[in-house]
């Protein structure tokens, strides 16, 4: 018994050792320095997942906490001269505790709201989910499966796939790429439920654009909006919407019916039939539309260029296998899989959390510095339920139901006009522990300056 106790005392003594503390501090420094290098090489997510949110980091912080506690226990009973030292160390423990609370129970996500619309979802950019819906004929979709996956840390392989069972066989996820530059590819297919795909070129002496349109659902047209002109693939309406637009409607014989509307009238300006290789004179600014390729049944797939490190244009992708066919899905994209009786919708998306209330964006403003396009300030006017409008701007967050909404950034359309505001949405239960700890620690550190001297100006002993 006494042996044991002396063993414990010895352990406490060595845990409280200053030399151990120095080693822990140097180890922690080296670890987080490595994190900054990973971030420079890749990105913040990689640094999080490879360094900061790992068992190594947790171990280092745990050792730090143990050492801080041990040294305070070791100095017990505390005397007056220990005040500064105890404050500094307790402060750090409080901050660490606050950090744990934030990590376990906090929320740190992003919310994008289009101007004039509302949203109730917060996206967590570092977490991903797999979702599978099925439709057995008709428009109703049933959720079959939902699963959190962390493919960044644990990618699937053909040997160890993620498997989702369906009545028509397994959907298997067999490969993952962290950083790919995608480019869309449309290929013809035999699947009955697939929609048509069409590649067109629109040009005049000044402009030439080539784009694909793929109609994914029979009741919803696929559209391309160039601002002054719109191209739609789908069933033409009787009346135009007051824009320059052309509707391309596939016919059963493989040809295409077109309907042209002008801005000044809701009645069709012209109509006709064309086919692959054909052209239509639109009469808008001398623009000519050519049908470069047409597939009555088309499927979208992605071509990739794999990258060693991320750029703002890269994304991640998973490969799935269903009934001997393989296909890639990009992050935050949905793929349709068809069998004779069923359509499956498979999504690989960032986790979305329903806040339980909508946030409406009335207005967004970007105020530039005089005579430039450099942003000076971003401002959003939003509405929370049962409240008047609230203004949220950089450095001036808004609060609702314990959540804090910060102005993070905004999104532009092709013409550079803002179309949506991006908020960072946050709940931090550890906040006050961190603030309190900070205050205590700062007092301790400053007090240590007075109490801990190397050589006293006059010899008064101690030190």
């Amino acid at each position: 018994m006494s042996d044991k106790r002396s063993g414990f005392a010895r352990l406490m003594k060595s845990l409280a050792s200053l030399k151990l503390a120095v080693i822990i501090m140097l180890g922690l420094s080296a670890l987080i320095a490595w994190g900054t290098i990973v971030e420079a090489r890749f990105d913040a997510e990689a640094a999080r997942k490879l360094v900061y949110d790992t068992i190594w980091m947790e171990g280092a912080l745990l050792m730090l906490a143990v050492s801080l506690i041990a040294v305070m226990v070791d100095r017990w009973p505390w005397k007056k001269k220990h005040a500064a030292f105890v404050l500094a160390h307790i402060g750090i423990l409080f901050i660490l505790f606050g950090g744990i609370l934030t990590m376990k129970y906090g929320l740190d996500g992003q919310m994008t709201v289009e101007i004039g619309k509302s949203s109730r979802h917060v996206v967590l950019p570092m977490d991903t989910d797999l979702l599978v819906y099925a439709s057995f004929g008709g428009a109703n979709m049933t959720k079959l499966h939902e699963e959190s996956v962390d493919y960044f840390r644990r990618p699937p392989t053909p040997e160890k796939p993620t498997r989702i069972r369906t009545d028509d066989g397994d959907i298997e996820f067999i490969d993952y790429k962290k950083y790919v530059l995608p480019s869309r590819k449309v290929v013809p297919t035999e699947e009955k439920a697939a929609g048509p795909g069409l590649r067109f070129q629109i040009q005049n002496p000044n402009v030439s654009v080539v784009e694909w349109l793929v109609q994914r659902q029979p009741d919803r047209p696929a559209s391309h909006d160039f601002g002054p002109a719109r191209i739609h693939l789908g069933t033409a309406p009787r009346q135009g919407s007051g824009h320059n637009e052309i509707w391309l409607t596939p016919l059963d014989d493989g040809r295409i019916h077109w309907t042209l509307f002008r801005r000044d009238s809701v009645k069709p300006a012209a109509a006709g039939i064309t086919e692959e290789g054909g052209q239509v004179q639109t009469g808008w600014m001398g623009l000519e539309l050519r049908v470069l390729r047409f597939y009555p049944k088309a499927r979208e797939n992605w071509d990739f260029e794999e990258r060693p490190a991320p750029t703002p244009l890269t994304t991640s992708a998973v490969k799935l296998r269903f009934r001997d066919r393989e296909q890639w899905i990009l992050l935050n994209d949905t793929v349709r899989l068809f069998t004779d009786s069923t359509a499956y919708m498979v999504s690989y998306i960032n986790r979305r959390i329903d806040l339980g209330f909508p946030v409406k964006l009335d207005e967004f403003q970007m105020i530039p510095y005089q005579g430039t396009s450099r942003a000076k300030e971003y401002k959003s006017r939003v509405q929370f339920p049962d409240q008047g409008p609230v203004e949220i701007s950089m450095n001036e967050p808004g609060e609702y139901k314990g959540l804090t909404f910060y102005q993070a950034s905004f999104q532009n359309d092709d013409q550079g006009r803002p179309i949506a505001s991006v908020f960072s949405v946050n709940y931090d239960p550890g906040r006050w522990w961190k603030y309190l700890g900070s205050l205590i620690m700062s007092c301790g550190v400053v007090a240590l300056f007075w109490m801990r001297r190397l050589y006293w100006p006059k010899p008064v002993g101690g030190g």
């Binding site: 050792s17 200053l18 030399k19 503390a21 120095v22 501090m25 140097l26 922690l28 420094s29 987080i32 320095a33 994190g35 900054t36 290098i37 971030e39 420079a40 990105d43 913040a44 950090g99 934030t102 740190d108 750029t311 703002p312 244009l313 530039p368 510095y369 005089q370 005579g371 430039t372 450099r374 942003a375 000076k376 300030e377 971003y378 950089m394 450095n395 967050p397 804090t404 910060y406 993070a408 960072s424 949405v425 946050n426 931090d428 550890g430 906040r431 961190k434 603030y435 900070s438 620690m441 700062s442 550190v445 400053v446 240590l448 300056f449 801990r452 001297r453 190397l454 050589y455 100006p457």
Partner: protein
């Protein structure tokens, strides 16, 4: 009492320099003409210097001031087609364009007339669309594009915005001046040309034309034009170079102290105090002028923090010197202030001295200013400890036993500096957390800048704890003062210029890595050399 007299002498010296520099000379009123550029209204003089520097890489051209040169681009662009004014130093770009890599300046046609040039621009556009980080090659190509843009826009009168609008806040460039303003501006250009050709009485007439135009502009929309005092202050600041005078004064102070040790005359110490106080005053005045001009404490880019650190290091040195009276602390302070300001003054590409409006994230935020100032002032204390470490190691090299007292004084000062640094850095990092929490919604996010500040803190805490545990003794403290400062260099400079990633990217630039790296490397060699000598000495001689 004595102190008071020194302060007085120092202030009088500073005042004398001021008087010599104040005021714009006859024929130079044009320099004070308010123009809009880069998101603010500034004197034409500043605009001209920045534009000339952007194209030519210098603020004067063949001995002539920028304000005389830049306007002639607009008045006689064809003359300039034959002059070598476009600076291009990137060897890869020069060879891509098939240009002589031993030259530094080129005619516009030599670069932009090359068949390869449009292809390079295409590459640049493709690179930008890929949204990948631009390599130095592409950064320089981008600069070239900007040089061409600046010159063309200046030559066509679209760059120089001289007239405030009746509505809105975008000023009207010379090319689009309304009819009632045109003759007034024409007057300026005519007298300007007359002055250049030395016509008698033209300087006075030019001044009158400028004043008339400025009054006209001011009357059009008084709110958009800064006060005359503001404009005059900016010209004074740019002419006076307070930080240049400050480092001269610091250097003289350091020299005076060295003379004291050579000749052992006390009046050299007095002189050193006077010089250093004068330098500190100039440093303060320069800082104050920037606060007035920018309307905020100037700690938003590397240049401004270097100036702030010089100020802090000298302040800490003077306080510690007053407490411990070793004279070595004062010497170290003078050297630190001199070194920091010389570096700030000599690397305008890396440390941009121009006054820029703040990025949106940084605007109107009290916590931002506080946390940056607190953290960087801790770097001042560590910088001082670093120079003290050098001083101590030099004494160690000479003879540790003979100089035991001096080394002891230095070690004590280093320990105090480290304590001061930690006492500012720890709360500073926390204030940074408060700011991040307040404006981004998170207290800590492992952003490289904040992470490296934490690494610095942990590094110095490790040293202080190592000292307590007995691992680090006096000699060890000298060494760690020098070595640990490399962490500060990394946090302060390396994150922006070496790592170049993260949310703090608004302060990012490029260049100078080889010099900073060389500086650190030489110091490591020095430390290793002294350490080997220390080990080889008999223990009794240590």
């Amino acid at each position: 009492m004595k102190m008071k007299r020194w302060v007085l002498v120092a202030m009088m010296a500073v005042g004398a320099v001021f008087r010599a520099e104040a005021g714009v000379k006859t024929g130079e009123a044009l320099r004070a003409l308010p123009v809009q550029d880069g998101g603010r209204v500034k004197p034409y003089d500043t605009f001209a210097q920045e534009t000339l520097n952007g194209i030519y890489g210098k603020k004067t051209y063949e001995g002539r001031d920028a304000w005389e040169i830049v306007l002639t681009w607009m008045l006689a662009p064809t003359v300039w087609a034959d002059k070598e004014i476009f600076e291009l130093r990137n060897k890869d770009l020069l060879s891509a364009l098939g240009l002589d890599s031993s030259r530094r300046w080129f005619k516009g046609d030599e670069i932009f007339g090359k068949e390869r040039f449009p292809e390079l621009m295409q590459d640049l556009r493709a690179r930008r669309e890929s949204k990948e980080k631009l390599s130095p090659y592409f950064q320089d190509l981008q600069r070239l594009e900007n040089q061409w843009f600046l010159f063309r826009e200046m030559a066509t009168g679209r760059l120089l915005r001289v007239l405030p609008p009746a509505d809105g806040d975008t000023w009207i460039p010379v090319a689009d001046l309304p009819a009632e303003a045109q003759p007034r501006f024409l007057e300026i250009t005519q007298e300007f040309i007359a002055r250049l050709s030395g016509v008698e009485g033209s300087p006075e007439r030019l001044d009158r034309a400028v004043v008339a135009f400025e009054d006209f502009a001011r009357a059009r929309n008084p709110q958009l034009v800064p006060s005359k005092l503001h404009i005059a202050t900016e010209i004074f600041y740019s002419d006076f170079h307070p930080f240049r005078w400050a480092y001269v004064a610091y250097l003289l102070g350091a020299v005076a102290l060295l003379l004291f040790w050579s000749f052992n005359k006390n009046y050299f110490v007095t002189a050193a105090w006077v010089f250093i106080l004068a330098g500190f005053l100039l440093n303060t005045v320069g800082f104050g002028l920037r606060v007035y001009l920018a309307g905020r404490p100037p700690v938003s880019n590397m240049y401004e923090t270097v100036v702030w650190v010089a100020w802090g290091a000298v302040l800490f040195a003077m306080i510690l010197e007053a407490l411990y009276k070793t004279r070595l602390i004062l010497l170290a302070g003078a050297i630190t202030g001199w070194l920091a300001l010389v570096v700030a003054d000599s690397a305008p590409v890396v440390l941009d001295p121009s006054l820029q409006p703040l990025e949106a994230v940084l605007r109107s935020n009290y916590w931002l200013i506080i946390h940056v100032m607190t953290i960087t002032i801790s770097y001042a204390a560590f910088f001082l400890a670093f120079i003290l470490g050098d001083v101590g190691l030099i004494y160690h090299l000479k003879n540790p036993r003979q100089h035991a007292d001096k080394i002891r004084g230095v070690v004590n000062a280093i320990y105090r500096c480290m304590q001061i640094g930690v006492a500012f850095l720890a709360p500073g990092i926390i204030l940074g957390g408060v700011w991040a929490d307040y404006s981004w919604g998170r207290f800590w996010g492992w952003d490289p800048k904040e992470t490296w500040a934490l690494i610095v803190l942990l590094g110095y805490l490790a040293v202080l704890h190592g000292r307590l545990s007995g691992w680090i003794k006096d000699f060890g403290l000298l060494i760690t003062a020098v070595v640990t400062f490399s962490l500060v260099i990394m946090a302060w400079y390396g994150v922006n210029f070496v790592l170049g990633a993260g949310l703090h990217s608004y302060g990012f630039g490029a260049g100078g890595v080889e010099y900073v790296g060389g500086f650190l490397f030489l110091h490591f060699l020095f430390v290793v050399y002294v350490w080997i000598l220390h080990r080889s000495r008999a223990p009794s001689a240590r």
